[in-house]
């Protein structure tokens, strides 16, 4: 007799199994079969290519690549795909997640540490998944005297605003979620929401350290928004448009960073301040105010804020690429799609398969995406670099830098752009087109 289940009887076990099977059959006959009959008799099934689309036929088509590929191709060109996957959220979230891992390894190598090492055996590549699972499974703790609606809404609003920012960045020719005529102004409008969300979330936690961090974040973001906007006006003057796609197209022969290095430097500095990265990480200064405005967040709420801030990092790096580094412009290095697959089909032994609609994405788009991604990753690495090198600066020096030096430099940049336009070098009717 077994010690684990002393009351075990094989006959009872078999009886319970047959009982279960009996009830399944009864329920299926009484409820399941009528539902199937109603579906087949009363719902009009579509007729495609002279055949009735029965559920069986639909299942067959799902496994057939020559029929599924056109469906996927039409899906790729829907708005839903753009918003959720390619130039929108999915692509950005993938890059942002990669950034978190790369940042840790990159800083570790810079400081002669090893960084994440054990998770995933090879250089800790599964560390991110482990961290994500940990954040999802953690309990969300809300301070007792917090203002609950705002406290709950703040991380969602933060991610939502970052996603709205991403939707304005053009990745490849024609591949942008929202191609606005006033794209750059929309960027400024979206950036304006971050200090509000930061301040509200820090206030709603009803705790000292978040509030100090939030006030610091507000000071920093509001004062660096002005040089940010001013440093980009030079490009608007030279390109003659506010549309981000047209700004990229205006850089086919030369990048704007060649003519406006001062603007690029000012914009890069303001990016660091807006993203609260070292040397401007006063809102999150962990050695002074615990974790700044993130102190009271726990579990997935913290995870969402972290995701939002890295999405914002990607969006700002993408904006720098679009405005100063020529966006998707670059030499054509992507190999063309092999024509014989379209004309002759794929040969696998005795079988030849013709797959209609095969180049899913055209060569130009893939090449543009490749160059955009390379440049953006380069900018992200340069944004990550100061964290391993610089100390945190004092808040009065920060404000002094923002209000005096950067605004002055931004005006110098605008005057350079105006001089280039009035000297007839650039702009409409200029020497260099």
């Amino acid at each position: 007799m077994s010690a684990i289940a002393p009351e075990f009887r094989l006959s009872r076990f078999v009886a319970s199994l047959t009982d279960l099977i009996f009830w399944i059959i009864v329920i299926f006959t009484l409820i399941g079969l009528p539902i199937v009959f109603i579906t087949l008799f009363y719902i009009e099934l579509p007729e495609i290519n002279g055949k009735l689309l029965t559920p069986y036929l639909a299942l067959t088509w799902m496994a057939d690549p020559s029929r599924t590929l056109p469906i996927i191709k039409s899906l790729i060109h829907t708005d839903f795909f753009r918003i959720s996957t390619f130039p929108g959220f999915g692509f950005a979230a993938l890059l942002a997640a990669g950034t978190i891992y790369v940042e840790r390894k990159f800083l570790a190598k810079m400081q002669l540490r090893v960084g994440p090492l054990y998770c995933g055996k090879i250089e800790g590549i599964l560390q991110l998944i482990g961290d994500g699972l940990k954040l999802i499974s953690k309990e969300i703790i809300i301070p007792a005297k917090a203002d609950k609606p705002i406290f709950w809404a703040a991380p969602l609003l933060f991610v939502g605003t970052a996603a709205a920012f991403i939707s304005l960045i053009p990745v490849a020719p024609g591949w942008v979620v929202a191609d606005l005529d006033v794209g750059l102004l929309a960027v400024f409008a979206v950036i304006g929401f971050f200090p509000i969300i930061t301040l509200l979330s820090s206030w709603s936690a009803n705790s000292k350290f978040p509030f100090i961090g939030g006030i610091r974040a507000l000071h920093q973001m509001v004062s660096f928004e002005i040089p940010l906007i001013l440093s980009l006006l030079g490009i608007v003057i030279l390109a003659g448009t506010l549309n981000l796609t047209e700004i990229v197209e205006s850089q086919q022969h030369y990048w704007w960073i060649i003519f406006m290095p001062i603007g690029a430097i000012v914009f890069f500095t303001t990016i660091l301040a807006e993203l609260e990265r070292i040397p401007f990480d006063l809102p999150e200064a962990e050695s002074e105010i615990v974790a700044g405005w993130l102190t009271e967040f726990s579990g997935m709420m913290y995870g969402l804020v972290q995701l939002g801030s890295y999405l914002k990092l990607y969006a700002f790096a993408g904006l720098f690429t679009v405005l100063f580094l020529g966006g998707w412009n670059g030499p054509m290095v992507w190999p063309p799609f092999p024509q014989e697959i379209i004309t002759e089909g794929i040969k696998m032994g005795p079988i030849t398969m013709h797959v209609p609609g095969l180049p899913l994405l055209d060569q130009e788009m893939l090449n543009g995406t490749l160059w955009f991604t390379i440049k953006t990753i380069g900018v992200i690495l340069v944004i990550l670099l100061p964290r391993g090198v610089f100390p945190r600066i004092r808040i009065d020096l920060l404000l002094h830098t923002g209000w005096y030096k950067l605004i002055g430099l931004a005006f110098v940049n605008i005057f350079i752009a105006l001089a280039l336009v009035y000297a007839g070098v650039l702009g409409p009717g200029g020497l260099i087109q």
């Binding site: 203002d147 006033v182 102004l185 400024f188 950036i191 304006g192 929401f193 509000i196 301040l199 509200l200």
Partner: protein, 170 residues
């Protein structure tokens, strides 16, 4: 579609405007003020003026609402306002609003605005910019001078001589 959106934005804007006056918590009041200002931006978007809408969001929601929020959070309420609970004031305010609205309404109906074209193409903001730099350039210069003098005046008012800076500034 446009009518439904217009109705939704109107309800949102007016509702949050009433809420910003009536809600007891000042933080929630300023949040609903933000919603009101964003709703006005929505009206501009409906009117085919995305340029104005984006400026409405970035200036009013992004800067002015932040300033209001900042003030409300930092200053205690008793220092800012004396609470006067008087229903007669509220009714007087509502009556005044109705009178003003009726006045503006009669003026608009009396003017030629009611016969405007509905399907006219939207004005490109580049055209507005060209007009500003050519025909209306004196107005632009005057506006620039007013803004500059306002900024300089604010800096002068905010400057305090009695506070000595003891920290190094280099």
């Amino acid at each position: 579609m446009a009518d439904a959106v217009f109705l939704a934005i109107s309800v949102l804007t007016i509702g949050s405007a009433i809420a910003s006056l009536e809600v007891r918590s000042m933080i929630y009041g300023s949040i609903s003020l933000m919603v009101t200002l964003a709703g006005v931006a929505g009206f501009f978007l409906l009117l085919d003026a995305p340029f104005v809408a984006m400026f409405q969001i970035s200036v009013y929601v992004g800067s002015i609402a932040v300033l209001i929020l900042f003030t409300v959070m930092l200053v205690r309420r008793e220092l800012l306002f004396h609470k006067i609970e008087d229903p007669r004031r509220r009714y007087a305010g509502i009556g005044l609003m109705i009178v003003i609205m009726l006045g503006i309404g009669t003026i608009i109906i009396g003017s030629g605005l009611k016969s405007m074209e509905v399907d006219a193409p939207s004005v490109d903001f580049r055209e507005i910019g060209k007009d500003f730099l050519t025909y209306y350039s004196p107005a632009l210069v005057v506006m620039g001078l007013i803004l500059a003098s306002a900024v300089i005046g604010a800096l002068t008012l905010a400057r305090r001589e009695d506070v000595t800076n003891e920290q190094r500034t280099d």
